[in-house]
Amino acid sequence: MTDRARSERRLGWLLCAPAAIAMLAVTAYPIGYAFVLSLQRVDLRFPEESGFVGFDNYSAVLSSDLWWTDLFNTIFLSVISVSIELCLGMAIALVMHRAIFGRGVVRTSVLIPYGIVTVVAAFSWQFAFAPDTGFVNQLPLIADDKDWFGERFSAFSVIIMAEVWKTTPFMALLLLAGLTTIDDGLYSAAKVDGASAWQRFTRITLPLMKPAILVALLFRTLDAFRIFDTIFIMTGGAQDTQSVSILGYQQLISRLNLGLGSAVSVLIFLCVLVIAVIFVKGLGARQPESGRA
């Protein structure tokens, strides 16, 4: 190896080291520490009762109805909101890509939700649907006294709408990036051969965009799985609308039960890992070179 190559290699490591340390310090170490905490009884309200308990915290979490309800809620919210986002996002991406006019309007509308703090958006939607302050119940076809947050599935529908509103832009932009990589010649050729717009979409756009769609789905699914802000503001987890992140927060910060809370944290981490592995496998099988994209 030449001196030059050696110094390049050293410089590379040197330049990456600070970022690598900053990233590991608050993820790898804490998740390890969370695992250690999860094997102990650590309740800051009863510090004298601390001690090693093995997997007791895990069996306590996994045998509680609360964990399974919250896991169901989280998966339900993720699946529904990500599906809606995929359809809407695809429509918006196609419009931004193909638009003859109005492209700027779409881009502007797409970036407004992106720029808004999630908590602010959640408050705005909550006030809009609240029976005492909101304008929604004044709209035609909606009962004046409908209590949106008083019942589980109506609360879910408002939560999903707020999530879709906030995160569709990101989905649309990721899909747009995939769209721009498709060669326009393919469409002209298909058109010459008499393919309809729908055929062109299903036979050219969708298959070629598969990697982009999977990447967008991966990012958004994992993001949706972490849902916290919107639920915290809108219902605080009432009416059985808790997500697993809210459950973790309540055990850790509200109840100061670090042992049980850490078990929840580790379980959430494992769920995320499973989702990621499934998506990466789906990506890697077809497109080896984009597996780490």
Binding site: E8, C16, L174, G248
Partner: protein
């Protein structure tokens, strides 16, 4: 594409609908913020009486008593410091990944991606415990450190994509003229990379500005509580008044400047958000 009159009308209607849907929560919170306490529950989309009362109440009592000024300073300070450090660290790493040949490049990229997917709630408990032991609980660094961690992947991916577009022959030319790799980086590449760094900085700032989970978990007072967390703890003037008006006014103050900024630099932001995703 054929462009008949009917198609154009449908198109325009679709565009208007999208724009309205995007704007409703913003217009609604602005409307609420200008309503008087007497009319805040009138349920009308447009205020019937305008007043600045909600804004005045936010700043009443100066920095010591206002529930909003200190969190606003915290939010600005924490987001700006996070952005500054994150962009410096990410630039180093992104330069190395985009330009240098060394083993560990792909590990670094894969690692950054893994961090981007990491669930923050899983670190909240340990950090809460560690920060209390280290004296970082309820301090600025206590929030800046986790924000750095979770913004670095975003910054690195965006910057790597931008750095790959830079005409690197200029750097070689500088090295032929006797510059060391580091000099070539500082004198030639940094000025060329500035637009990409600016884009990454916007994305990181928005990320730090937006965070809620760490902000409510790792703070306990106005010493470091940021605006999103403070909003969740707002109380009305008396126990019987809802803080709706103050929340709305505070929300407008932290939202409108960011929206204007985002719209001014929209091309850049779209480029930043999309580039990292495909080319990484």
């Amino acid at each position: 594409m054929e462009n008949t009159g009917r198609e154009k009308t449908l198109w325009t209607i679709a565009l208007v609908l999208v724009l309205i849907f995007a704007l409703i929560p913003v217009l609604w919170i602005i409307s609420l913020s200008f309503k008087t306490p007497a009319t805040i529950t009138d349920q009308s989309f447009i205020p019937t009486e305008f007043s600045f009362e909600n804004y005045e109440s936010l700043f009443k009592g100066g920095i010591s008593e206002s529930p909003f000024i200190k969190p606003l300073i915290n939010s600005l300070g924490i987001a700006l410091i996070t952005t500054f450090i994150s962009i410096i660290l990410a630039s180093f790493a992104a330069y190395a990944i985009a330009r240098l040949d060394f083993p560990g490049r792909s590990v670094m990229l894969a690692g950054a991606l893994a961090i981007a997917m990491f669930p923050p709630i899983s670190t909240v408990g340990p950090l809460f415990d560690m920060w209390r032991a280290l004296g970082l609980y309820d301090t600025w660094p206590g929030l800046i450190i986790p924000y750095l961690t979770f913004s670095l992947p975003l910054a690195i991916y965006t910057l790597v994509a931008f750095f790959r577009e830079i005409p690197w022959d200029l750097e070689k030319a500088a090295q032929v003229d006797g510059a060391t790799p580091f000099q070539a980086f500082r004198k030639v590449i940094v000025p060329l990379a500035a637009p990409g760094m600016f884009t990454a900085a916007i994305l990181v700032f928005i990320f730090a500005w937006n965070d809620f989970l760490f902000a409510i978990s790792l703070t306990s007072s106005d010493a470091s509580r940021t605006v999103p967390a403070a909003l969740a703890f707002f109380t009305g003037d008396s126990t019987f008044t809802q803080p709706t008006g103050s929340i709305a006014a505070a929300a407008v103050i932290v939202t409108v400047p960011i929206i204007i900024f985002v719209l001014l630099f929209q091309r850049r932001i779209v480029a930043g958000l999309t580039s990292g995703a495909v080319k990484g």
